[in-house]
Amino acid sequence: MDVVLVLDKEKTVAVEKKEEEIVEIPEVVTLYFQRADNLKKTISIKTTTNDMMERVVTLAAEKLGISSGRIGLTGGGVPIAFVGKTVGEVLREYNTVSFHISSADMLG
């Protein structure tokens, strides 16, 4: 149960309780990936919530022309930890279907 503060017109504070929202995610989802350094490069991948996110991200990176093995994923303005997680787990945890992929810069 969440407690939500609601400000009414008289600026008094009322408190109401809201049932915890159950997020229903369809079994088949479309994820959108953009290259962080080139937002014109965008692709979408259709997958299932049981699929491993790592596999989908690797595929997306390949399609976006990122060959580096060191890939970072962000979404909703934060880094996303996706290794070992399913697509469904990532969607529930980060509440987004839109991601940015970037590669690590390595210089010698």
Partner: protein, 270 residues
């Protein structure tokens, strides 16, 4: 046919940033690397700021950045500004340095950009790479002229467009909309749709614009704050750590203005 060097042939590096780099590079035997932030205007690249890598690895002969940092840094840039490229040091080189094969591989992955390498003696070499190939780019360390200095144009009270002060009315009217469309798209995706019946409200994400107090130019980096965050200061500090790798920074939070000013941090930084 127009040659690349007729379109873009120089990069202007303000002396205060160059001195900062010099201090950092000369004090370290290990390599250092920095993202170059600025504006590409007419035939030149104007550098306004540098952001040091959040290193995953670092040695005398290589550096490895954090891919999350790069993505979040690009996302935080105000409309108009771009991640122009990378500057890194070769402390082992004396005299004019050159790029290694590892560097060249990284630049090809980066796409279009300005790449600068400095030696331990602060000699330098710069290259501009694009899909058309690579060409040497003149790096000029000098104060910015008034027309090159950044100016802020606040749009609809929310977006702070940063462009050189000398942009013509025509340039501003044409290009500002393109820069604006990029941030509007980004913020729409980060926003929330509140659906009620057959209607919906788009709620753009909450944010805090962060400024470095010591930078000669007031560049507002936009950090996005989650609506359910109780401790904004803590979240801002966390994102600052992701993007700038500053530790223990002293912040002044101006909640009404949605701004935070970084006063000082630990260690040597730019």
């Amino acid at each position: 046919m127009t040659a690349r060097r007729d379109i873009l042939d120089k990069a202007i590096f303000p002396p205060f940033l160059w001195s900062a780099i010099e201090g950092i590079v000369k004090s370290d035997k290990l390599e250092r690397a920095f993202y170059i932030i600025g504006f590409s205007w007419r035939g030149k690249l104007i550098i306004y700021d540098l952001v040091e890598f959040k290193y995953k690895e670092r040695s005398q002969t290589h550096v490895l950045g954090d891919p999350h940092q790069k993505a979040l840094l690009i996302q935080s840039l105000p409309p108009g500004l771009k991640l122009l490229g990378i500057l890194h040091s070769h402390p082992f080189d004396k005299g004019k340095p050159s790029f290694s094969s590892i560097d060249m591989r990284d630049f090809s992955e980066f796409g279009e950009g300005l790449f600068i390498v400095v030696s331990g003696s602060m000699d330098h070499y710069s290259l501009f790479m694009s899909s058309e190939g690579s060409e040497e780019c003149r790096l000029i360390v000098r104060d910015l002229e008034d027309v090159e200095r950044p100016q802020t144009l606040i749009i609809n009270g929310r977006w702070k467009l940063i462009v050189p002060a000398g942009l013509s009315k025509w340039e501003l009217e044409k290009y500002a909309l393109i820069y604006l469309s990029e941030i509007v798209t980004r913020e729409t995706v980060l926003g929330k749709l509140i659906i009620h019946g057959g209607y919906a409200d788009l709620v753009l994400p909450d944010y805090c614009d962060v400024v470095k107090s010591w930078n000669l130019f007031r560049i507002p980096y936009r950090l996005y704050i989650h609506g359910d965050t109780k401790d904004v200061l803590k979240e801002v500090k966390l994102i600052i750590r992701y993007i700038f790798n500053y530790s223990d920074c002293e912040l002044t939070l101006l909640k009404e203005k949605r701004e935070a000013i970084i006063r000082k941090c630990e260690g040597i930084y730019v």
